[in-house]
Amino acid sequence: MSQKEDPNPFDPTGMFKSMRDAGMDAWSKMMIQLINSEAYARASGTMLDAWLTSSAPFRKAIESTMTQVLTQLNMPIRTDVTSLAERLTHIELRLDDLEAKLDERSQPAPKAATGKSKETGT
């Protein structure tokens, strides 16, 4: 952070800096008040909602066109890829369960919680 010092009256840069800092502080406080106001919350919410609503038909049109084109070209569409990835995650979950079961069989159970020394963790 910059240090605040008494400005040298013969140093125009120093004077400019202190004026800038004071201006920034005031501006910052004003902006924080503004973004924390009910009016800002309402305005930003309304604008976001309007944008999402107005862009939805275009987005849907692009999506359906893309789906049709990819299907015509015998290419996988987005949902094909994502469903494949979801299936892979399910397989990972099963593998994780299997690994845990193998761990239980191959190693002794973890040490009891109480009254043990610090010799763990390696």
Binding site: F10, M31, K111
Partner: protein, 361 residues
């Protein structure tokens, strides 16, 4: 006493211009390169989908280490590297030096196929499995957890739903848990607005884009984040310590990731708008989340100047939890500053370490 400035000679002017050119080069480097962050040696011990569990290589001999391992769980909309920001200024380094067996759960960045992931999945699928692995690797059936921001929310939910799973100590940092005060801060004001429709956002984007989350966080203090941050850097650009610290933090801040769509929707609707956790009406996969069932020793760390999670969003949980050993700790600083700022090593880390040390053997 002030002196009149000397007449500027051509040689002085040349030196000044050279100096400005050097500063401009430094500026260019900071804006166009990434700092080396998260450098502490660690090994990957478990993965599931995008989530990864890391074990940090201990630096203290086994007989001097604390018996109970510590698992760190960071938020789901940022990378967890801020816990290990840079060599010489890293919470991970600090805790390793103090003899902790340390683990980090990195949630990773969700992809389109993860848009349906909810808190239910993080709390009941991912976290228990990572803990199972931690127990296996550490050899300890007990463990401590440190959750930060939404990581604190996830660890709290886990502690309440699985109180008998060996969670001994729970450290919460800037935990957003109580949304009863609808005037407390920008986020809750924006999201409480009727026209703010999380369902429509997620229907449009699938996952909540990282850019929008980043904008939301920065817009809470727009002048500081968009202008003051850079002016301060320029004012201190001759100071290598400040410059490298800024570079590391900027590298972390600009590495933005999306948030799984269903999790975002749940966060806004069930937590921010309906405050279900504190009202006692929250269920995850049909299981009722009862905070009184959370019995782990609890340290709740609150940042006094937190504009993202105002203190009132963290304090209310203290009277709801069933923990007998519980403490609230207020620290001067912001949401990230209390753990990653220049004063963290003197104020926050020692307090966390001392509290945990008394309960980790």
């Amino acid at each position: 006493m002030t002196t009149m400035p000397r007449t500027l000679k051509p040689a002085d002017l040349y030196r000044k211009l050279e100096h400005i050119a050097e500063n401009a080069k430094t500026w260019n480097r900071l804006m166009t390169t990434k700092a080396a962050i998260a450098q502490t040696p660690k090994e990957l011990i478990w993965t599931l989908n995008k989530a990864k569990l890391y074990h940090y290589i201990p630096v203290v001999p086994a007989d001097q280490r604390h018996r109970i391992p510590l698992l760190m769980v960071f938020a789901i909309m940022n990378r967890p590297h801020v816990l290990d920001l840079r060599p010489g200024h890293s919470f991970v380094e600090y805790m390793l030096k103090h003899g902790y067996d340390l683990y980090l759960l990195d949630w990773g960045a969700p992809s389109p196929e993860d848009r349906g992931m909810k808190f239910d999945d993080y709390v009941l699928d991912y976290l228990p499995r990572a803990i199972r692995k931690l127990k296996r690797v550490s050899g300890s059936d007990e463990f401590s957890m440190l959750g930060w921001c939404l990581g604190a929310l996830i660890t709290t939910l886990y502690g309440a739903l699985r109180p008998d799973d060996g969670l001994k100590n729970l450290l919460l940092l800037t935990a957003p848990l109580d949304f009863s005060d609808k005037q407390a801060g920008g986020f809750i004001r924006w999201t409480s607005e009727r026209s703010f429709n999380a369902d429509k956002l997620i229907e449009t984007f699938g996952n909540m884009p990282g850019e929008m989350i980043d904008y939301g966080a920065k817009a809470l203090k727009p002048v500081e984040n968009y202008i003051g941050n850079y002016l301060n850097l320029w004012s201190n650009i001759d100071n290598p310590k400040v410059v490298e610290s800024w570079h590391a933090m900027n590298t972390w801040v600009t590495d933005i990731i999306p948030m799984a769509g269903a999790t975002y929707r749940q966060l806004i609707n069930e937590f921010y708008k309906e405050n279900r956790l504190m009202n006692g009406t929250l269920t995850l996969r049909g299981e009722h989340v009862d905070l009184s069932k959370l019995r782990a020793n609890l340290l709740n760390v609150i940042a006094e100047a937190d504009h993202i999670t105002p203190p009132c969003q963290s304090e209310g949980v203290m009277e709801k939890v069933g923990s007998r050993d519980k403490a609230l700790y207020h620290i001067q600083g912001g949401h990230i500053g209390i753990m990653a700022g220049s004063g963290a090593e003197k104020r926050t880390w020692p307090h966390i370490e001392a509290w945990l040390a008394d309960r980790s053997d």
